[in-house]
């Protein structure tokens, strides 16, 4: 068996790379009680709160499925598609505490025919694509085992 590839995040600074307790890393503006993801600008976008200090926080890693769709056609670059192309599902999950919907691919091995809007989902780490040396890791959504 070949040695395991390095598991590296597909994007720096967005994900807490803990297999047992993965989280998305966002910002909290405590002055307005508002969360932000991704951390693209370190400014609170809550109107009137541009001077607020932002703290990095782990976003909830559970939520309710808002909707989902399976892509049957290969998207253009920069998506790195396997050859041959494999359809994949994108899920929208609503985090209760943060009151925000977060998109993510459905975890590998989950049949989209088996999921339902409204069910509880949890965040997991999964492989987006790989090369000779590395597996590039992103967050994915997986149904919470009943």
């Amino acid at each position: 068996m070949s040695t395991r590839k390095n598991r590296v995040p597909a994007i720096e600074g967005w994900i807490k790379m803990d297999e047992d307790d993965p989280h998305l890393l966002g910002y909290l503006d405590a002055t307005s009680g508002t969360y932000f993801f991704p951390k693209d600008v370190s400014i609170s976008r809550a109107p009137g709160h541009a001077d607020a200090e932002l703290t990095e926080v782990e976003l909830s890693n559970r939520g309710r499925l808002w909707s989902y769709t399976t892509n049957h056609y290969q998207p253009p670059e920069p998506y790195v598609a396997p050859d041959p192309f494999v359809p994949y599902t994108v899920a929208a999950v609503e985090l209760t505490k943060e009151r925000m919907i977060v998109l993510g691919q459905l975890a590998d091995g989950v049949d989209p025919e088996t999921i339902e809007v409204g069910q509880e989902m949890e965040l997991v780490l999964g492989t987006l694509y790989e090369d000779e040396e590395n597996e590039y890791i992103v967050w994915k959504w997986k149904p919470v085992a009943a």
Binding site: D40, A46, S67, Y68, T69, N71, A92, R99
Partner: protein, 397 residues
């Protein structure tokens, strides 16, 4: 008549298709058609607004200059603007405010595009700070992905069916069949639509708008100028909405990874999409009950159902019923997309919102031929451009 009215003296288009020529040619054809329609000459124009295209290099980023140059420099001031799919409405708004301020009398508004085949893709390079690039890279979230999410949500929330989505496509294909500017002139059956391959389920190939080449132009003037030219009852632009969202925006919009968080500041009473036409109604003092027709952005067939509710034709959850009643087909109470909509045109981004207003112009003049909505006097367009661009134009006669 509202104090903000301006006259539409001319409307013109270059037919939509996949012609593969320089976008400037489509725009110039549209301008010439609109000028002819207005009975005016290029030397009469005192301001030009160009809707930019992102896919045709530098001339596309400075469309106002590109078209002014192509028509022959006359020294007039120009403007260029970009607001994604809402570009046309923003261009119209620049023209209108220029006229209403008294700084211009005759303004040409134009948009044209030449598009590549297939999915709209982000700008190339390693663009890790560009959400539009990142959504493709990290999620594979194409535009149809978002349309699929909305469509599935409607099925779950309101009991929409795949047949409903197909019905929209069938209705619009009947509307656009006789439209000389439409790209797809084929009457579809429900079976054909439901037999087409899944793209982003539950949506299928024939339910997702293509990308097209095309061009559209308008000649806008002050009401005084129209009167002086002997046009006492022109079609009027009575309101333009170019609203942006109010924080927190709780709809998952392209190209975002998340909605805004509503944990601290409560969501506004009116969603962003609901606010778009609302602002136009408020400005014109006209309500959805006064409408004779609407042109809405059917990027997917299912999205047209959302628009029925967003522009106030019915309450949330009632769009499927309104569609099934037949009232949104030509001959019904409130025909939607009599032009055939994006389903028959495909999208030519900077031209599309202008093309919607061209259709209203012809409809309100009674010049729409086989697709004429009888006695149309009031019409609205609605559309949304990614990155928070609302777009709605209300026309009256």
């Amino acid at each position: 008549m509202s104090k903000n009215d301006v006259a539409i003296l001319g409307a013109g288009m270059h037919p939509w298709g996949k012609w593969g020529r320089n976008f400037v040619e489509y725009g110039v054809t549209a301008i010439k058609e609109a000028m002819k329609d207005a009975g005016l000459e290029w030397k009469d124009v005192d301001f030009v607004v160009g809707g930019d295209t992102m896919r045709n290099g530098y001339p596309g980023y400075v469309a106002g200059a590109t078209f002014a140059k192509a028509m022959g420099w006359t020294g007039i001031p120009i403007a260029s603007c970009y607001a994604a799919c809402a570009t046309g409405a923003h261009a119209i708004e620049i023209a209108r405010t220029r006229i209403l301020s008294g700084m211009a009398e005759v303004v040409v508004v134009v948009g044209a595009d030449t598009t590549p085949k297939g999915f709209l893709a982000p700008t190339r390079g390693e663009r890790t700070l560009d959400p539009d690039w990142l959504r493709f890279r990290l999620l594979g979230a194409t535009n149809p992905t978002y349309f699929g999410l909305y469509a599935r949500r409607r099925m779950d929330l309101y009991g929409a069916t795949e047949e409903d989505f197909a019905r929209i496509k069938v209705k619009n294909s009947r509307h656009g069949f006789s439209n000389p500017n439409a790209r797809y002139k084929k009457v579809f059956t429900e079976e054909e639509v439901l037999d087409s391959p899944l793209v982003a389920d539950p949506l299928r190939l024939f339910e997702i708008c293509a990308t097209s080449d095309g061009g559209a132009a308008l000649v806008l003037t002050s009401l005084d100028f129209a009167r002086k030219r002997g046009v006492s009852n022109p079609v009027r632009v009575s309101a333009v909405s170019t609203v942006s969202p109010t924080f927190p925006n709780t709809t998952i919009d392209m190209p975002e990874f998340t909605t805004d968080s509503a944990a601290g500041i409560p969501a506004p009473d009116r969603s962003f999409k609901d606010s778009i036409a609302h602002a136009a109604y408020q400005e014109a003092g006209i309500g959805p009950e006064d409408l004779d027709l609407a042109e809405v952005y059917d990027l997917s067939s299912a999205l047209e159902l959302d628009w029925y509710e967003n522009i106030g034709l019915c309450k949330p959850g009632e769009a499927e019923g309104l569609l099934r009643s037949g009232e949104t087909a030509i001959g019904g109470r409130i025909p939607v997309n009599p032009s055939g909509g994006l389903g028959c045109f495909g999208e030519a981004v900077p031209a599309q919102a202008i093309a919607q207003v061209c259709e209203l112009t012809w409809q309100l003049r009674g010049e729409a031929g086989e697709r004429q909505v009888e006695g149309a006097k009031v019409g609205i367009t609605a559309n949304q451009g990614l990155f928070g661009h609302g777009s709605s134009v209300l026309c009256t006669r």
